[in-house]
């Protein structure tokens, strides 16, 4: 399953909006097969911040662990935020091209 974050907005900065996004999206995760990867695509996102990311990305990482993959991006706000989330939670994201 590929999650295109731009479908949640292009400015992903608020904790409450991150919570809302995860709650709304959670039912879709029921369709994920046991061996299926979850790929997050930041293409089209302008700004991404730790508050939003901690409500959406962190729980997905906690559920899917090594099956959770992130498409590489050059957006500085995405890069810096993902580094911070790794530091806070002590996990390492797996990246794909």
């Amino acid at each position: 399953m590929v999650i295109q974050l731009k479908k949640f907005g292009t400015t992903l900065t608020s904790r409450s909006f991150g919570q809302e996004a995860f709650s709304a999206f959670k039912p879709s995760l029921q369709d994920v097969a046991d061996d299926e990867s979850i790929i997050v695509d930041f293409n089209g996102v302008n700004t991404f911040s730790p508050s939003w990311g901690d409500e959406f990305i962190s729980p997905l990482m906690e559920i899917y662990k090594e099956r959770f993959l992130i498409k590489k991006t050059k957006n500085p706000s995405v890069i810096e935020t993902l580094l911070l989330l790794e530091e806070i939670h002590g996990f390492s994201f797996n990246y794909i091209d």
């Binding site: 900065t13 608020s14 904790r15 911040s49 508050s51 935020t81």
Partner: protein, 244 residues
């Protein structure tokens, strides 16, 4: 044709009374356009001129005056975000304005990230507990390369004490907010976003002034640590100025 505002609309936009606006008109600070309707002549104002007046204001001084006021009112409507939705709408406007100008590439997303973290923090930690005026003052001037945010919330000491009850001073609370990872998720979620704000300021040679209570710091690229000081001015909430 330029958009015209009536005196009520123009004074609301500026956050002043219609009488003050009439006085400004008489002194020539901003000229009205008189339009006769029936027996009477009414004053109208060019919206672009009003907007320019707002841009030319010292947005940092305005924020400080509002944040420190003992008789608080809502700040200038143009800068006032009474709730998180209005704030995020204005944040998107900032993002659009930054992205239109190539000189802000590639750091525009980092500037929006920092303003978003500071402003959203105000809402996240004060929801339902605003001591007087709810919401955030949020202003920017891209020509002067400055972003200002302020709130009249409970301040970092009070909100952070819920996760870390041993904190006793504004100085300690400010240091903790910008340097320590708070892992406790109960009773209040902490985003740790201010740590990232600090990191971005240092890495990209920006400047940040931040104050809560009587504790403040001025941080700039090249600094090795937060030099937190206590001052005479006191803000119950938080006030921040980002220069880039």
């Amino acid at each position: 044709m330029d958009k015209l505002l009536n005196i009520t609309q123009a004074s609301e936009m500026l956050g002043i009374s219609p009488d003050t606006l009439r006085r400004w008109d008489e002194k020539g600070k901003i000229k009205s356009i008189r339009i006769k309707r029936g027996e009477y002549e009414y004053r109208y104002y060019n919206q672009d001129e009003i907007s320019q007046l707002l841009i030319d204001k010292d947005i940092f001084k305005t924020a400080k005056d509002w944040a420190a006021s003992l008789e608080p009112d809502s700040p200038l409507s143009f800068y006032y975000c009474p709730n998180v939705s209005v704030f995020n709408g204005r944040l998107t406007k900032l993002e659009t304005a930054l992205m239109k100008n190539s000189k802000f590439f590639p750091v525009s997303s980092l500037l929006v990230l920092m303003a978003g973290e500071i402003g959203n923090n105000s809402f996240d930690h004060n929801l339902g507990n605003w001591p007087d005026v709810p919401g955030v003052y949020f202003a920017y001037n891209l020509n002067k390369r400055v972003i200002v945010l302020a709130d009249r919330g409970q301040g970092i000491l009070k909100t952070l004490s819920r996760a870390k009850p041993d904190l006793v001073s504004h100085e300690e609370a400010l240091k903790t907010a910008f340097t320590e990872f708070i892992s406790g998720r109960i009773p209040e979620k902490r985003g740790n976003g201010l740590k990232l704000v600090k990191r971005i300021i240092l890495k990209h040679n920006f400047k940040l002034y931040f104050q809560t209570g009587n504790a403040f710091f001025n941080l700039k690229g090249g600094d090795t640590e937060l030099d937190i000081k206590t001052g005479k001015e006191y803000y119950q909430g938080c006030i921040a100025k980002i220069e880039f």
